[in-house]
């Protein structure tokens, strides 16, 4: 999987933007940054598709488009099926000599609603069939396009409009679905997690996902200042602290073999650097209610869950 590309900051900066400015995403929207970074890693002709969601809506208000590459949107629950059809068409048209390109990469983007919830069937089916495409999950942990409703990707305790911080039930009572592990369980060739704070790592993973034969899945944390009730200037910082608290560890699973990526490996080797979840939670208004005395036990539960999942990951990565 060696790439000739060096992934230096200079090289990345010199590459043209294929996801252009002028889109209507909010200030501080990490998903928009993620889209731009992902397309920095393309290696040639590429077709992209999005599930319905913020990034589809804000990037393509007719007659404008932020996409410098061919792009299609069809519905919410079928981004992976979009990619399946595109990939199958490219394959057969090339075989029949009706495609002028040696290879065309296919990237599907979906938010957490379009991936954890309504889109998981199409995703699972596409991966089982082995289509050669990269699926990028930009995870802002709720249905933001419809106004902040909880999804299977919303973490424990988070306020959303459908998991309000009520007097009896303080935010979402359930855990976040371990979607990337679910994808690894498909025995697909490449699964990874990424954060826009570690953007070179993210871009490298996109490139690996494209280079691998068969389906690849990239789970990217992507803060939403509107939904997370966070400072729009802190989105990248929050993306970093998510990694440093091990709430969102960075890893790759190549053919099912888990490996920690450098930023998380540091946390494994130097546990004293691991930050407490409170440092992450306090930056976001969606967790504000957890700091009330009557709900404070929940931050402990969140810490326990994060620690438990982190230990499980370390084992999978054969880390001490």
């Amino acid at each position: 999987m060696a790439s000739e590309w060096k992934f230096t900051a200079k090289e990345i900066a010199e590459r043209p933007d294929l996801f252009m400015s002028g889109h209507r995403a909010c200030a501080g929207c990490a998903p928009a940054t993620v889209h731009r970074l992902v397309l920095k890693a393309t290696r040639g002709p590429t077709i992209a598709t999005n599930a319905t969601g913020c990034m589809e809506v804000t990037s393509t208000i007719y007659p404008f488009t932020a996409w410098k590459i061919p792009w299609i949107h069809t519905a919410f629950e079928n981004a992976a099926a979009n990619a399946s059809g595109i990939e199958a068409a490219l394959k057969i048209l090339r075989k029949k000599g009706r495609l002028e390109y040696e290879h065309v990469d296919v990237i599907a983007f979906g938010g957490d609603g379009g991936t954890f919830d309504i889109g998981i069937q199409a995703l699972s089916g596409a991966v089982e069939r082995g289509h050669d495409f990269l699926y990028v999950l930009y995870d802002n942990e709720a249905y933001m396009n419809t106004g902040i409703q909880r999804s299977g990707g919303t973490p424990l305790g988070a306020w959303t409009t459908t998991s309000p911080a009520g007097r009896k039930i303080p935010g979402k009572p359930q855990l976040k679905k371990p979607i990337a592990d679910i994808m690894v369980a498909h025995e697909m060739p490449y699964v990874a997690t990424a954060s826009p704070a570690f953007w070179i790592d993210l871009i490298k993973k996109v490139r690996r996902g494209l280079e691998v034969e068969g389906p690849a899945f990239l789970h990217v944390i992507a803060p939403c200042p509107r939904g997370w009730r966070s400072d729009p200037s802190k989105s990248i910082e929050i993306s970093r602290i998510a990694v440093e608290t091990c709430i969102f560890p960075l890893w790759e699973a190549i053919d099912g073999e888990y490996n920690l990526s450098a930023p998380s490996k540091l946390m494994a080797l130097r546990p004293e650097r691991k930050k407490t979840v409170k440092e992450y939670l306090k930056m976001q208004g969606r967790f504000r209610h957890l700091f009330k005395p009557e709900f404070e036990h929940l931050t402990g539960k969140i810490q326990e869950t994060v620690d438990r999942r982190w230990q499980k990951l370390l084992k999978r990565c054969n880390m001490p």
Binding site: A83, A88, Q121
Partner: protein, 412 residues
């Protein structure tokens, strides 16, 4: 040597589903994506055999749902592939969302629907509830009377859907079990004749977001954005364009039907409607699909007795060939519209709505009544059809319509 043999055609025994698969095999289809459902199953089974025996050059995607099957066809078509899918009943209902997206994206997908009742209660047998509910989804709808027409219609469908003036998806309906599982002699064209007839997809030029004229497909050299967010300022115009394409379709359907008649020797009326002994008829029934075969037998019997009975079979239900319908029924005195589906709480079945509406201005004095029949595969016997013609005779005689909408063939 018969005319058939002269054209290099051969007669083989095929059920309706096999006729679909055979036609698709000959049409140089690039991507087939499908999910099995009774009574469509034989289509995907047969096509799988073609794929696994290397008889077709097609990417066959066995999807995890009908929703994904149609999605795959839609996006494959957007890349430039010729695509096909098939379904029935609940499968079509699950595709519902993507039916609109497909027509809205102007993706020329061809789909066979082995017409079957919708749940509940669950029932695997024929009626038209599944495709009638999709009549406003922007798909051309063609209903076949027999397996020969199924085969012929699928081949024509690719040309119609992909025509630059049309660019709309098309649904070919074949009655579940009555056609899908019934063996008939089907006259098939040689592979190369079909291949030449369907030719290769052509792509009209469209103006992209940079103002450049580019082929209408997802092409990295000439990027376009398909399926954008379209708000109050443009959505309406795009929907209007869809309707305009629908209005252009009848001429294209007729033209392609005629071109096909030249290579096959087979015609189904003018491609939109088929009249049967209707020229001097006083009593007419109107129906879709395989029921027409039974009706024709009854018409012949009545004619032998001197009753001026006739039949109008609607082949293209979408777009509705209004002028052809009006013209065909000009001299008829009483009409029975037969609906194999029910529009619950409506004023008769969907075909009745359309026909009576079409006739409102031209033949206001023609008695037009409705019979809901054959739901869930209930047989439509000659006896029942005869009764309908007798009702029409009575209406003419008395000048009165007792019941505007009736259910026929109920166990009561």
């Amino acid at each position: 040597m018969t005319a058939i043999q002269q054209k290099g055609q051969k007669v083989i025994a095929l059920n309706g589903d096999e006729a679909v698969a055979y036609a698709v095999k000959q049409c140089d289809v690039d991507v087939v994506a499908a999910y099995p459902i009774t009574p469509q199953t034989i289509i995907v089974e047969k096509f799988s055999e073609y794929v696994h025996d290397g008889e077709v050059d097609t990417e066959f995607i066995c999807t995890e749902s009908e929703h994904s099957a149609l999605t795959c066809c839609l996006t494959a078509a957007a890349v430039g592939a010729r695509t096909f899918t098939a379904t029935a009943s609940a499968g079509l209902a699950l595709m519902h969302e993507i039916l609109y997206v497909t027509s809205g994206c102007r993706a020329p997908v061809v789909m066979a629907v082995a017409n079957r009742a919708l749940s509940a209660p669950i029932n695997i047998h024929c009626d038209h509830s599944d495709s009638m509910v999709e009549r406003d989804s922007g798909w051309i709808q063609v209903y076949a009377e027999n397996n020969q027409e199924v085969y012929d219609s699928i081949i024509q469908a690719f040309r119609i859907a992909e025509h630059a003036e049309v660019l709309l998806p098309i649904l070919v309906g074949l009655d579940g079990f009555f056609l899908s599982h019934t063996l008939e002699n089907v006259c098939v064209l040689p592979d190369e004749v079909v291949r030449n007839f369907v030719s290769q997809r052509q792509f009209p030029l469209v103006k992209n977001h940079e103002g450049k004229l580019v082929p209408f497909k997802l092409d990295p050299e000439n990027p376009i954005t398909i399926g954008p967010l379209d708000l109050q300022d443009y959505y309406f115009e795009h929907k209007r364009q869809q309707e305009e394409a629908m209005q252009r379709a009848p001429e294209i359907i007729k033209k392609i039907h005629e071109e096909y008649a030249e290579i096959s020797g087979r015609r189904y009326g003018n491609g939109l409607v088929e009249t049967y002994r209707l020229e001097d008829a006083e009593l007419a029934t109107i129906c879709l699909g395989s029921t027409a075969g039974t009706v024709k037998t009854v018409v012949d019997e009545l004619r032998a007795k001197g009753v001026r009975a006739g039949l109008l079979r609607i082949r293209a239900f979408r777009p509705l060939p209004v002028q052809d319908i009006i013209e065909a029924l000009r001299n008829v005195k009483a009409i029975a519209v037969m609906d194999r589906s029910c529009s619950f709480g409506g004023y008769g079945g969907p075909v009745f709505h359309e026909i009576r509406h079409a006739l409102y201005d031209s033949n206001p004095h023609t008695h037009t009544v409705n019979y809901i029949y054959g739901l869930g595969g209930r047989d439509m016997s000659q006896h029942m059809i005869l009764k309908i013609y007798q009702d029409l005779e009575m209406i003419i005689k008395t000048g009165r319509t007792e019941h505007l909408v009736q259910f026929v063939g109920l166990r009561e």
